[in-house]
Symmetry: C2
Subunit: 497 residues, 2 copies
């Protein structure tokens, strides 16, 4: 082969082709390099703050100016169209779907209204709208304490700092209406200075302290769960000060928590039908998540509920927090190689098995409440009834632990089935004993359960005046809440950015 310079001497057109070809190539390499540099610039400038966030800034929209991607995804938590096996979308009325709940929670605010929860964006609006918070005309009226705001808003840490934690909890819920207006958002989990994840709620910090653990030592990966754990847990209102407390001092398992409550002689309320001293489980999602395989494998809440996204050259966390079922490709399929259809089918198959047991547990506990009432009516004595009432308490507590949490039958299906199995056993044991007590008081026929086939019938059965509750609430939403909003607007207008 001849050297190229000699060839070009004899064929000049070849020289031109080489020259022009090289020019074109260099041009495209230049374009490519430019594109890389641009994307790099995007990353570098993506998080250049445009506003200075004040300490504890509660307004999500202000944070959104600095962190538009996270904010825009958070904003999508407004979407209420997601449907799944037992969720027909937008605030499914759970009491209408299953009127037995009204009986189980008789005497407790949940029997008035209980809906499928919506995304974080709705937190403040929904707590105002729900019948459970009633229609407090002034800051001294109940029914709920300030504690009920705790998980609803980034205004909470601000107010706790201002008022002191104890005072915050023990004031009336209605007294804080114009202070707490921003729904769950940025400041609940982030430090405005460093954007690090932070724990802003005292109950979790205190629970860790009582366990001898320092939550500030948690790794970033642990924090990707712990910020959620501030709220998605079982809790109770301790003492007259309604101090928000996590009942974990003996451990996270249901038996540990039950023992904790029993030894403290605690009850959430007395059931008006059976007179049993009841416990209300409050979405114990973290406790049940801990019992499942995903926790065991080191997965954090955010891994599935807030998977990473890419936009241009920027990787960020999706703040559209929701069921991973609504985003199987972004969540499950990061690890699982099965099709969306298959993964959904697997999930639903487990859920159906759990719901079958749950349905049975509910039927039996409802029957036990009415049979206990019949026993009282027939003249049963306190000491005869005590063991039965304890069984009803423990049965319903187990059922509620599985029913109150979102996603429990996915997080830990086998533990859920175990709890429901023992709930069935305890409710049935109560019923066997009640049959004997009733017989001793000359009642040997089965006790008839009233018609509770609809929410309305069930609510009537437990003596709720729904018309009154609804009209009071409607009036209150028309008169009181607009004042709260006006006041809040005025207050926030004075904040400096």
């Amino acid at each position: 082969m001849k050297p190229i310079n000699e060839v070009v001497k004899t064929k000049p057109w070849l020289g031109w082709i080489l020259f022009l070809g090289t020019m074109a190539l260099v041009f495209f390499i230049g374009l490519f390099a430019s594109s890389i540099m641009e994307r790099r610039a995007e990353v570098v400038f993506a998080y250049k703050p445009t506003v200075k966030l004040m300490d504890g800034e509660p307004r999500n929209e202000i944070w959104g100016k600095n962190y538009p991607r996270e904010f825009n995804s958070y904003y999508k938590t407004q979407d209420t169209t997601f449907k799944s096996l037992y969720n027909s979308g937008n605030k499914t009325d759970m009491l209408a779907q299953d009127p037995k709940l009204v009986i189980l929670w008789a005497g407790y605010a949940f029997s008035k209204e209980y809906n499928q929860p919506r995304g974080h964006w709705w937190a403040v609006e929904d707590i105002r709208n729900i019948l459970r918070t009633g229609a407090p005309k002034d800051e001294h009226e109940g029914p709920q304490p300030g504690t009920c705001w705790t998980c609803k808003s980034p205004d909470v840490p601000r107010m706790m700092k201002k008022m002191g934690i104890e005072s915050f909890y023990k004031t009336k819920w209605g007294a804080l209406g114009f202070e707490i207006v921003n729904p769950i958002g940025c400041a609940d989990c982030h430090d405005p200075e460093t954007m690090n994840l932070v724990i802003t709620r005292p109950a979790l910090i205190e629970a860790f302290q009582r366990q001898g653990k320092d939550i500030t030592k948690a790794s970033h990966h642990e924090m990707r769960s712990l910020v959620c754990v501030q709220c998605h847990v079982e809790y109770y209102f301790r003492g007259d000060g309604k101090y928000l407390t996590f009942p974990w001092d003996k451990g996270y398992n249901i038996e540990d928590i039950e023992k904790y409550y029993d030894e403290a002689g605690f009850k959430d309320w007395e059931h008006p039908i059976s007179k049993a001293p009841m416990l209300k489980a409050q979405h114990p999602e973290y406790e049940l998540f801990r019992m499942g395989i995903h926790f065991d494998r080191g997965i954090a809440c955010a891994d599935c509920h807030m998977p990473y996204m890419n936009e241009g050259g920027v990787k960020y966390t999706n703040h559209h927090i929701r069921s991973p079922l609504a985003n199987i490709s972004g969540s499950c399929q990061v690890c699982h190689r099965q099709s969306e259809e298959k993964l959904k089918e697997n999930m639903y198959s487990g859920q159906k098995k759990c719901f079958e047991l749950r349905e049975k547990a509910e039927q039996l506990i409802v029957a036990a409440h009415f049979e206990a009432k019949a026993a009282w009516d027939a003249g049963a004595k306190e000491d005869e009834m005590k063991p039965v009432l304890t069984l009803i308490r423990h049965a319903q507590w187990r059922w509620d632990f599985t029913a109150a949490g979102h996603g429990n039958s996915f997080h830990a299906p086998l533990e859920v089935a175990r709890l429901l199995g023992t709930a069935i056993e305890k409710a049935s044991d109560a019923r066997v004993q009640l049959a004997r007590i009733l017989a001793n008081h000359n009642v040997t026929k089965p006790i008839e359960i009233p018609d509770i086939s609809t929410k309305e019938k069930a609510q009537k059965c437990i003596g709720l005046d729904m018309e009154k509750l609804n009209s009071e609430k409607k009036e209150w939403l028309k008169t009181v809440v607009p004042k709260w909003l006006e006041n809040a607007k005025l207050r926030e207008s004075k904040y400096k950015i």
Copy 2:
């Protein structure tokens, strides 16, 4: 740089180094090639038959001459040292471990003796030794029919061919003692000519036919489960001919099978305490395996229980069939990246939850049997008792379905928990109704359960004369079985190889 020939001219020692170096290299390449060829030869000659197998050859040792690797691994099923959470090794006495079983199976042979099963190698010896087969003095004496041999030996297809299937089933178990001597082995699953997997038992073929499926169309991968499914399933003895039948005509789920039995008016026996018409579940491993995630992901029985091995250049299937827990690295870790300790912990954690429910179900069903007896004793009538007896039947059926199979709480833990939850519910429902029936007959005190804290006490409670059963069996093993073995030896000595 100068060309090498010019350099060598000036430095002759370099030529020698190159020459010797090349020699050495070529020598080692030769060794390597030889090793490769040897391993290849091993593969080619590994399965060169040394003996010609006769049609239906029942003797595993003869097959072993042609397939030494498979045979040697099969031979290891003699090993009985494996222990796990509820298995303390070598033929754990299940009735001693849990005397409630004696009551649950009262009136049925399992109440006499029931042990943790051992490997395939023990199949024939164990069925002879167990009290359940009794001590039939001649070929006309029971208690068991020929059907009981069906899953125990490769002599079975041979005898079925000789006698006809119906005659095989309907003869007495004792009549076939000298014919059936080789434990479960090669000819149960393999064609001696092609070594292909084959179905040798009619019950599975017939069950598929009734479902409109042709089992000969099964793929090799499906066959890696189906050969096991010949035996590891729920079955019953249909009619007076004790015809072995799989109850799958309505489906594989427990509700389907229950409906099948109920509609056929079938019972395995009548319980002598409660008089309930009982069903005995018989190791429904395939049915429950179908409900679990490993089946869902397309895993075959052999994938975990007979994982591939390598020996020299030969890849072969490990015929040391056993719990994958005894070989986690060879089984589970082919897919799962967790440590052996972690995988075992996950498995045990699920098993413990299932066993907790199982224990409760047993307690309640035992109580229901005794309470039913008390109701009969107090003068209860057939029509009062009928719904209760059905509940007891269905409760125990569900419990037994989970308890009778090996590994069920691993194969489908959630389904097992669901079944146990509903077993608890049905047993409790029976007990509530029994409390009312008893009250109507003037019994309102709790029914006392006799002391059944040990196997001996429980067996005495149900009226078993264990001394007699044991001494009869001992005598029989000393007198009859040696004759069987002698006859069999003589018979087999006439086979041609």
